[in-house]
Amino acid sequence: MKNMMEVQALTFTYNGATEPSLKRINLPIEKNKVTALIGPSGCGKSTLLRGMNRIHDLYPGHRYDGTINLLNSDGEAYTDILTIKKEAELIRLRQRVGMIFQKPTPFPMTIFENIAYGLKLSGVKKRTQIEEVVEQSLRDAALWGEVKDRLSLDARSLSGGQQQRLCIARAIALKPEVILFDEPTSALDPISTLAIEEMISVLREQYSICIVTHNMQQAARISDFTGFMYLGEMVEFDKTETIFMKPSVKQTEDYISGRFG
């Protein structure tokens, strides 16, 4: 099966920096699989994730070298997303490659409107259609049961875990192909964390997922593939099982087993 995304020899330098933050990174994102990125703080995993839907470009002056291929909707050819220049196309890219952040970011509006907002922006006008998608997205994000009777309440009245699932529902309402998670549970309690993990394992059937996490047990639990990054380089990428049971690089072994490097 073709990979959904392929990062090839990506070097990324932040605006004003002399040294690149990512050095010739290669990373495949397999379709309908969960790929986890692990590594110590500052290793570049979030930088890589943010490159994958060009969200860095919200601020000017950063430099990309290399290729990030995204499989076209026809499932045949790839487009290098680094060649996208028009703002409208970048917005379309971020719909296809959605992102969930560490801290839940509900809009200051009702639960219903949080999800309907993006739909309306993308041109959906029919009320019944919007209602349908809102319900389905909330169901997919395992939140429908908890909020169906209070859709008109302010989204900020939800608990942290619920807010995060709302953000996920908001992202999947736009029918993305890839979902990027940037430490989605680091601000949540263990039960909400498990709820999100469970949801990710269900979402995998429909979406391709890439997740950055500091919680190695989380990577071990939910991902199919794991990449270990260090100082801007992809040190090792393999099946999650292999990374956690028999990594080939000593640096990976030291990191996952909590040893001095």
Partner: protein, 232 residues
Amino acid sequence: MIKGQHISHKFDEEVEALTSSVLSMGGLVCQQLNSAVTALLTCDKAMAEAVIEDDVKVNTFDVKIDEQCNRIIVMRQPTATDLRLVMAIIKTTNDLERIGDEAKRIARQAIDISARGPIPELFDSIEQLAERVKDMLNRSLDAFARKNIEEAVSVISLDTKVDKDYENLTRQQITYMMEDPRKIPASIDLLWSARALERIGDRSCNICEYVIYLVKGKDVRHIDLEELEDHL
């Protein structure tokens, strides 16, 4: 092997304590086997009884090490080498405990034989088998302590010799039994002991397979020696 220390000193101490428990248990089991074999060959009833009595010490180690492993799994969520070490230790102690049981079995036969009076000519063949198996057990523990795969492979390769010794011994005892039916009870006791020794040889090989798993991360159980050498 990874030599670097864990960031948590306590984890290092726990791993060290666990490894040293296994080696102590191994030492005790070796001693049990040596005594059982000596008791058998010298018809020393008192020594055989001591072996039977001391089996409880082996069992205590078994339980204690399981607890240590459980604790590390739940507190540390070990990965990679640490995980393989815990897995290898759980399996090794299981085999050591069973080797202890086999030693106890030999001690029981020693008591039966001593009650009947020794028949020295029956003992020659079992002595060679016993020496070989004692050597295998010792060296398998040495391979574990040093994480030495060459030694582990060399112990595994001895198993065919043990099987051969066992086969020869069986054939010989059958001849004795046919020649002189009065020797049948003693020969049967001896065959039970030989069977126990042969099983100890197998279990020593198991321990060596865990050493290979621990060091190489490869599961080499249920493959023959040639395949094993290809793997490494």
